[in-house]
Structures are given as C-alpha cells and as structure tokens.
Amino acid sequence: MARIELDLAHAYGPNPQRDEDYALLPLKMTFEDGGAYALLGPSGCGKTTLLNIVSGLVTPSQGGLSYDGRDVTRLTPQQRNIAQVFQFPVIYDTMTVAENLAFPLRNRGVPADRIKQRVGQVAEMLDMSGQLNLRAAGLAADAKQKISLGRGLVREDVSAVLFDEPLTVIDPHLKWQLRRKLKQIHHELKLTLIYVTHDQVEALTFAQQVVVMTRGKAVQIGTASELFERPRHTFVGNFIGSPGMNFLAACGAADGIEVAGRRLAAPKAALSGLGAFTLGVRPEYVRLAAPNEPGAVPGVVTQAQDIGTYWLVTASVGEGVDPSLLRARLSSEQTIPRVGETVWLSIVGEHTCYYVDEDLIA
C-alpha cells in the first residue's frame, strides 16, 4: 500500500511546443494510500498512458513520480511492486487456478505452506475456492479476470493494484458481480487501487475519487456526487451522466437572463450582466412544470422513450428563435407527455450550472 505522488508531463516528441504535442499535459496529482481512484475519459485522452507511467511500463518525458516519498521514476514495474490487471485476461494456460495464484509467490521464494495459506485466502475472497484445481484455460472470461486479479492480491506487500479497462470482455450481468467484488476487496484490504475506464458507471461506482481526462488533460478530480452535481467543465457535464447534461445557449439581459427564446429571472445577480454564456442542466433535474412557471420554458415533445425504469422525453425548445433539444428524465409514475404535445420544462433551479467558455462560473 503506497501513497503515489505525480508531478510530470509526457510528450510524444523531444521538443513539445503546443498542447497537441503532449500525450499528458503537465499535471500534479496525489493518490492517497488505500484510496480507490478511477481515470475516466474517452479513447485517446491519455488515461492508459498515465496508468502505464504509474506502473512503470512507460517513463515520463518530463518530471517524475514517487511512492511513499521514494522516487520511482526509473524503476521497473517489478521493482515498484505493483500489480496490474489488463483488458483481456492474462493467465498461464498450462497451470491450474491454484498454480496461477501461487506463481508470483513461488518466484519470490516464499515457503510452500505460506503460499498455500495465502492462495486459500485470496481464493476465498474471490469466491473461487471450489475451482482451485481446475485448469485455468478452460474457465469463462470473468473467472479468468478474477485469477488475474488474484495474482495481484496474493502478494502481501503490493504497493498498488492497477486496472486497465478490466471489464471490457465481461457480460453486463457479470460486470455487476465483479464490480461488487472489487469494492468488497477494497473495503477489506484497503489497497491503493487505480482503475482506467471509459465507462462512467464503472468509474463512479468503483472509485472514491474520479479523475476525468480529455486530450491529455485532467479536467476535474472529485467524488461521484461532485462530478455529477457541479461539473467544473462542460466536458465533464456531458461525459458524466447518460444522457449527459443539456446545454442551452443563453445571455444576460436587463432584468434577468434570456435562454431558449424566453426571458427568465436571473437566478444569480451576476448573470444578468454577462454577455453570452451556457446554461447546463442535467436531464435528471429537468421537471415538468406548470405553464409560465418561473424558471420554466415551453417546448414541443419530439420523442418519448420507455427505458424500462424511467422515461426519456426529448423536447424542442426555443422554437423559431434558437431551437435546441432538451432532454428530461421522468419517473414512470408521472404522466408522460405524448409526442407533439407542448410542455413546460423547469430548467433553472439549484442544480443548474452556468458556464463561460466551457468553465464553470456559477
């Protein structure tokens, strides 16, 4: 278990001039000992590069990192004592499950009875005690990933466990079980865990702190509720949440704000003095409102989808002036408007965020 501190940047070529030359723009980050972190972002954002720098498979072109205060920038993964779980299961085909789990310990010369004990403990934690003598190659993908994970957990002095999109090849209902297992293991062993994914549900359910990245930059670091309630950047607002945040163009006006062709009272005094800005509100917080309710705008319903546990209603607002689509997530217990109906949707409230040039201002 280690506290990992990063102060580095990574560029593709030797002389980086502009932002595009960097795989990872300069960042300073700390992963606390025993914390569960997720690196979340679209493909190509640099999250796997960052993970590989933490594990030692890649050396950063600038700066360095330390484990518990010790500079490890030039050390190999083996020397850093980390464990890594990859996108597809990596197991030793010719060995049984027990032999797979014992392998890292055998290589370190741990005595046989201690190995047996440790393998038993880890198998118990992963619910694999009944499969110890089966050939690893014949098992399903999720069992194989558990073995990969187990090989990392079996070493008692492991400094951190790193995951590179480990649930990619797993079926949806098995993903639930594995995510739960990971959380339970974290709770029991208090290891430092760093998890790379492009799936927001995985990231938010797994981690205590999520690092949202795009194009080599760490845009926001926070807990699931912070990222959901107050995204500091429009990218975060859009990326987190399915569907993402609604963004409407707005501008300040004499006695309030103008958005979607309507004049509304300014929720914060400062906004009426602004030029153009963006209003962001999550579909979860868009409610059906009474006509002309303060903070509500009218729209025409273009789509109403039954998503099983809720309904997703899309309406076209700002008709004629500045048409855009607004999405609302409504519970099945409400009256769902039909396509073509005119509805009023409340968009200004305590959960609404305001952005200028993609950064949060209020």
Binding site: H173, L204, T205, S225, E229, G244
Partner: protein, 367 residues
Amino acid sequence: MELMLKGIEQRVGAQVHLYPLDLRLVPLAVTVLLGATQAGKTSLMRVMAGLDKPSAGQVLADGQDVTGVPVRQRNVAMVYQQFINYPSMTVADNIASPLRLRGAHTAAAIETRVAELAAKLHIEPFLKRLPSELSGGQQQRVALARALAKQAPLMLLDEPLVNLDYKLREELREELSALFASGESTVVYATTEPTEALLLGGYTAVLDAGELLQYGPTADVFHRPQSIRVARAFSDPPMNLVEGRAAANGVSLPSGLSLALRLPSVATDSAAAARTVGIRASSLRVQGRDGDLSLPGSVELAEISGSDTFVHVDTAIGEVVAQLPGVHVFTLGSPITLYLNPTQVFVFGERGELLVAPPEAHSVDVS
C-alpha cells in the same frame, strides 16, 4: 423485406448452437437480438444472412424459400463488431463499392450517393483517407455507410458499438435510431446490453443458450417477461429473485414475511407450490407508503453512479439490490428499511413461467 424463420435449428457436430425456433420479423422495423455472449445471436444472424445453412428448418424472404441460398445471392448488408472495411481503398471507394458491384449506376450518380451517405454519417472530411488513418468510431461509420449504400432490404448489425467507448456509443446509437427510422430496411441488431435494447425500441427477441425465449415489442418484453430466464436476461441491474411458496392470500416468503397478492391458480400445482418473486431494483424505495411491505436490513454496499445510487442490502429475504434515484450516502453496516409495493412484483410459477406482472402505467408507443 419480411423475413420468416421456421423450425430453424443449428447443430455443429455434437454442439447445439440453436434449438428449433420460429421467428417472424416485423418488416421495416428494428428487431433487437438480446442475449449474453454465446447465447446464439451471431449464429442466428448468420442463418438470416445466408452465411450458414441451418441444420434444419426454412428461411423465407418475402414468402420465397431462401434456405441454403448463399449470401452472395441474397440482398443483405452486414456490419460487424470489428470495424470491417477494405483496408486498401479510400473511404469514398469503400462506400462506393456495393454500388459499383451492382453496376447499375453511372459514376456521377455514385459520387452523389457517396457524398449523401458521408454527410448522413458525418464523415465528409475523411473521404480521401484510408480506414487505418481513422479512429474506431469513424471506421465504424464508414462500415455503416457502406452497408447503407447497398440499400439492402435486410440489414444486420452484430454488436456494432461494443468496441467504442460509451459516450461515442451513445452518440452513434442515437444516429443509428434516426437512420433506421428513415430507412427502408428491416434491421436486426444484436446486443448484450438490455439498456441498448430499450434505447433502440422496436422489437426484441430474447435469446438464451441457443433458445429463443420471447419476441415482441421491446417495452412489452421488458414489462412482461414470460419466464424467469427472460427476466434475468432483460434487466440491468439484475432483478432480485426470491424463492417463496404459494399461500392462501398470496406468496409466503422466507423468514415469515408474506406478500398479499391475487395470484392466478395453476391447476397442476400443489397448494404450496414453489413461487419465485421477482423484484426490480427500481421498485424498492426508502420511503414507505400505505400498503407497502417493509424489509428491514443492513447496508452491505452502496454504489453511486451519478444519477442513481445502487444499495445492496442484507434483508430477511436475502440480499437485494435497490436502485434509488439521486445521490444517497450510506455507511456500511448501517440499518436501513426498504419498502415494496406488493403490486410492483413479478411472480413466476414452479416451471419459471410468469404468473403476475406489475400493471403498466403507460401504454407503449411503438413509433
């Protein structure tokens, strides 16, 4: 095209990939094939396309028997998981290839059509590039444009979005829905994710271990799964299943709890036959209302996914997962009481068949 499968079976050596099934696809609609990996979705698609000949049964396209007719002679377009494009041709040539093969168009007509499709799929800036120079999402759009160019009456998509990251998947899925709605093909779309089926709408065929379990409008199949297996395959998060027994006034659950329900009687069952109660995670609440069954327990785990919180609770009837809207913070081990309205449960009989389903609040609008 109206595609009908009669008595289709697929056996490879000693393994059965598809048990005998009958399926009539609603023409010009989207049919989702939903099932876990190895459930038989790809095998079924291959039979529909003509890539494989079924071991038994018939495939009828618009009333004509096309069983065994190789795919080259059928008018089918297919899109795969792995972004398949001709690697040595430019994007424009890739999209034009089915049109050129047909030989029925002039060069000018082909160019216009290619430009039209590239615009629809937002890949105009890449027309002169090679597929290997594009990102995954862009390559898949090229594959889609090529499939659309063919204007085949049957379009098959085998988990086309699974190799893309989730935000890109959302975007493409919306675009696909719009494309399917405006197109003139019958579309078959395979996926492992229940949410994707619900977002695409249309009709869903649930497959499990080579068997076709249910086919109908997507929302119908979701709200009225005909068996436990369908309920299991078509729920995300997984449905809570509790074993109980039929009782005089409803179902008796473990630890003395009971659900007061009106159950249809099953003639062949004994008085205390086994009954499985299915509870969707979203049916459980933390605030009770009159008539609710209360389930006290302790919090085992809480997962926050932004818009919802999933809390795993250890109760008297076993471990259940509840989906609560919004962000709720719980301490592990703390006591919690979940509430359940008895009308919101599914009850399955001894053989796994559906006996009771919650009434739907809204009629389904299949558009």
